[in-house]
Amino acid sequence: MTEAYSPAELKAATAEPRTRPRKRLSNRWLTFGTFALLLSSWALATGMGPWEPIIKPLFLPSPTLVVQTFFQLLENGFQGKTLGQHVGISLYRFSVAFFFCIVIGVPVGLLMGMSDRFRAIFEPPIQAIRPVPKIALLPLFLIWFGIGNLSKIIVIAAPVFPLIAISAMQAVQSVSIKKIQAAQSLGANRWTIFSRIVLPASLPGIFTGIRLSISIAVTMLVAAELTATSEGIAWMALTAAEFLATNVVIVAVLIMAVIGFGLDRIFWLLETRIVHWSGKE
């Protein structure tokens, strides 16, 4: 009877109960392997192998040089300011822009979703601004808002605000009419329907908008620190590039990546806590 099954089939049948945990483990190893491969090819190509560096440190510093540079920057700072100050000022510009985008963008989006009149007033200008490349507006922002932090904050907020507002509006519009009708026939007034039905039901969409805009905001940070400043993590990368200090550039870029990733994780964590029911209906 056993001959009726091919060896592969038999193996598959007998291995069945163990596949799930094992598969999860092997997937994690695969991810780890990807990073190990990337890191080791970087190391081997930049002089950590037994041969001459294939890529000169001027173009791509070795991983150890990057780590060394990081500690040097930590100790000595960059161009008269500590690494902490550079990261701090960038985080300040980023956070203020992001904070106001959420605090103003979400309510504006909610109002646009709730009321057609509000939408008629606010949506056309927001939609008109959306496709304009905001980096092109940087010189204007500098003229209008000066060379201080304000112009930097505004250039970061410029693409983030419409994204957050529009996603909040769409989140409201996609709230199931049945849930609103259910609340109405349970005797809820307009305010209760907004605060206990529309707002919570829109939260998943609002979170998606916020998380999408994090990467955009980090990109805009670079644009914001292109000119008219002498501090900030993106400015550090741009300035170091002028001196061909690629090791400093890479450290700065990695720090920005960590900031972006960290913020995304924070909002992801908030999302799974606050809208735990999302996607489970």
Partner: protein, 275 residues
């Protein structure tokens, strides 16, 4: 045990009706693209009636429920509850939907306590009322769970409990069990009969299942589509039968067949289409 025709328009005097529907029609859109969802109809529902409206899709039964709930306004005619015209949704008309109308961000208890809270009761009162109803539908153990953690049948029971907690004058049920599997549905239908026996609520129940209507109703209104209209109405005593096997008795099957044939018979309009 049988069904017998009655005139749903003159079930009782308008003044005595719990829910009265007088000359109500609904037309969607205007001009040549307009759709007549409901031709003018009259219907009196007396207190304590379990009225099932049965018919295929497009017969206007959901339109009628939306009008009774106040989600929509009739093109002509008036709907009244206890003599007061229905113009918007209200807590005296509890609605149970097919599915997806639970508040996913609230626990089962918060869902069920929503009505009393919204109608001005204190949090503690609302909680106590909600627990009572949950106990009645056998879900008190699941009070702290979220809707997504429950099966489809349990979710529908939460929906029913939520509507009941406001102690509405009329329960409007829009095919509440249509999305459930056969076994779950049969169990819940039995529970609905007991619930109606215990509470004596006036119920307007929309369904496309003749069997469901016969099993539950004291009164059955049969509607047919294109355009939506009432084509027959019956008084039934299967709904109050004590026999657990009522749905396989010859009388029940005969009644089912009678209504089935009524629905299958081509309407005069459709006969003309064929010609």
């Amino acid at each position: 045990m049988q069904i017998e025709p009655y005139d749903c328009r003159t079930r009782c005097a308008v003044a005595d009706a719990k829910l009265s529907i007088e000359g109500v029609s609904k037309v969607y859109g205007s001009g040549p693209d307009s759709v007549e969802a409901l031709t003018p109809m009259d219907l009196m529902v007396q207190e304590g009636d379990f009225l099932c409206i049965v018919g295929p899709s497009g017969c206007g039964k959901t339109t009628l429920l939306n009008l009774a709930a106040g989600f929509d306004r009739p093109t002509a005619g008036t709907l009244k509850i206890d003599g007061t015209e229905i113009s918007k949704p209200g807590a005296e008309r509890g609605v149970v939907f097919q599915q997806g109308a639970l508040f996913s961000w609230m626990s089962v208890l918060e869902n069920v306590a929503f009505g009393p809270r919204a109608t001005g009761r204190s949090a503690a009162e609302a909680r106590a009322l909600a627990m009572d109803t949950l106990r009645m539908v056998g879900l008190d153990e699941f009070a702290e769970k979220y809707p997504y953690q429950l099966s489809g049948g349990m979710q529908q029971r939460v929906g029913i409990a939520r509507a009941l907690t406001n102690d509405p004058e009329v329960l409007l049920m829009d095919e509440p069990f249509a999305a459930l599997d056969q076994q779950t549905r049969e169990g819940l239908l039995e529970e609905i009969r007991q619930l109606w026996n215990r509470t004596g609520k006036t119920i307007l129940w929309i369904t496309h299942s003749i069997e469901e209507a016969l099993f539950l109703a004291t009164h059955i209104v049969v509607m047919s589509p294109r355009p939506g209209r009432v084509c027959a109405s019956f008084r039934s005593d299967f709904g109050t039968s004590e026999d657990p096997m009522i749905s396989v008795t010859p009388e029940f099957v005969a009644a089912k067949r009678h209504i089935f044939e009524l629905l299958k018979a081509p309407s005069p309009e459709r006969a003309q289409e064929v010609l």
